[in-house]
Symmetry: C2
Subunit: 286 residues, 2 copies
């Protein structure tokens, strides 16, 4: 496995693979790799001839007061894991390499970016769209892999790729969970043992919502109220949002009469945890 910091060298090496007719896959990450990332990398390896992972903690997607400085960095372990999985190239640029001058060019995806996390983290999806575009332009992948865990990020990137005719296929991959239901996240490392236990309220609330819809509940407010109750039972949990939205455009829905995305963000100590589930009301409980 090659570990490369330079954009030019990465471009040259991956370009060579493409010219040889190989299908190039990209898994963009911020490092601190866990089983969620590994599932993306495995799928990439299965579907592509040449597999690239990028590790870059993108400052442009962190707001003031957010966890840019403390975001977990485990580069050596990440390299070992990538090597073991048979990756071809690990692209790990410095800030200087990615932003050698003041960045003036930004990609904004209207509407989809404005709900859910976009409301709590202004500028976040502008940073995400911009860095993902930069990575696509450097690696020129045929296929890129993103986790469904970050549902809004996936929706924003899908729409960006469609609107701008980017020559890449986007694959959304299922959320990976611990045995007790907690969605894997690099930010789970911020949790104390007590908070780790309380964090189960997210998947519990989502499962409860799915059950209510399965039982015929079509009123979003009834469902979010029931979910809020589950979260509020945890002493340290603070709700950022709980929303039932259109699964592509992410706007709130007045009634559940189509497959919906149920998404939530909860603050627990210094961690901000997100989780989501897609529920189709047509698939009623049998």
């Amino acid at each position: 496995m090659k570990i490369i910091q330079s954009i030019e060298e990465t471009r040259r090496i991956v370009g060579q693979a493409r010219r040889e007719g190989q299908t190039v896959g990209l898994v963009p990450t911020m490092g601190a790799l866990h089983e969620g990332h590994f599932s993306l990398i495995r799928r990439c390896r299965e579907e592509c001839d040449y597999s690239v992972v990028s590790i870059y903690v993108n400052p442009a997607q962190f707001g003031p007061g957010e966890d840019l400085k403390t975001y977990p960095r485990t580069f050596e372990a990440d390299c070992d894991a990538c090597r073991e999985m048979g990756l071809d190239l690990l692209f790990a640029p410095s800030n200087r390499e990615m932003y050698p001058r003041e960045n003036l060019t930004w990609i904004q995806v209207e509407k989809i970016s404005e709900h859910l996390c976009g409301a709590s983290r202004p500028g976040f999806f502008r940073g995400v769209g911009t860095i993902v575009t930069k990575l696509f332009n450097i690696i020129c992948p045929n296929i890129a892999y993103f986790g469904q865990k970050d549902a809004q990020q996936l929706a924003v990137i899908r729409r960006m790729v469609t609107d701008l005719n980017m020559p890449v296929e986007i694959r959304g991959c299922p959320t990976i969970r611990e045995a007790d239901g907690l969605a894997l996240s690099s930010r789970n490392q911020y949790l104390t043992a007590r908070q780790r236990q309380q964090a189960l309220c997210l998947s519990k609330a989502l499962n409860h919502a799915a059950k209510l819809i399965g039982n015929g509940q079509t009123n979003p407010e009834m469902i979010t109220k029931a979910m809020e109750k589950i979260v509020r039972e945890q002493p340290e949990a603070k709700i950022d949002y709980i929303s039932i939205v259109d699964k592509d455009l992410l706007h709130p829905l007045p009634e559940i009469d189509q497959p919906v995305l149920i998404a939530m963000a909860v603050l627990l100590g210094s961690a901000r945890l997100i989780d989501n589930i897609i529920v189709d009301p047509a698939q009623k409980k049998s």
Copy 2:
């Protein structure tokens, strides 16, 4: 020469040329081709193995009350000219092909977009950056050609390509002028014979500015005042802006101590004409 409306077919045909190792050149236009465009196309033909021209009047870069409906459309003549010049492919998509759904994704180049035409035409460079990105993603050219006549557009696109690591080289090509100095523009067609004569005030004012700088004048205000006087002599001419700015970032300069862009926009009847010149004060009149 192939004339293609479909994005997918264009992608397939140009992709084939690239896979064969051919260098692909793109000249993006809004049609109504004139000698200015032809100079870009000739350069593209000289430097590239496979030459593509796009003709698309992009609604997203016209503001309310601007000339989207009346913009000259001369598609048959454009096709003939392109064929005669030995073009390989003419990409001429419909609005439905380019914007099949509401466009939510926009590219914004801060600062550079905000001066000059950006101040008079809000949203214009957002539309330009977005459509150029779409064309780049569809054609995947190695080199793309733009006229220096649209100096701010060129500066915006250069910065966009740099900031987003787009895998394309941008070539700026000299402004082509009529024998009497008028810069070629599809919008010159809007001018009456009298206005056509008055339109010479742009190139006259720019040449006068260059002469003043050649004579050692370093005060931008003195120069723009002299230029304004030249324009005001024409009864129908209304100044939109006359500015002396940094040639890359386009911010106004307090003193002329580096190569500068002198740019102007003048309203004449239903036409809004722009012109510019780059002047290096180090090259004094000998």
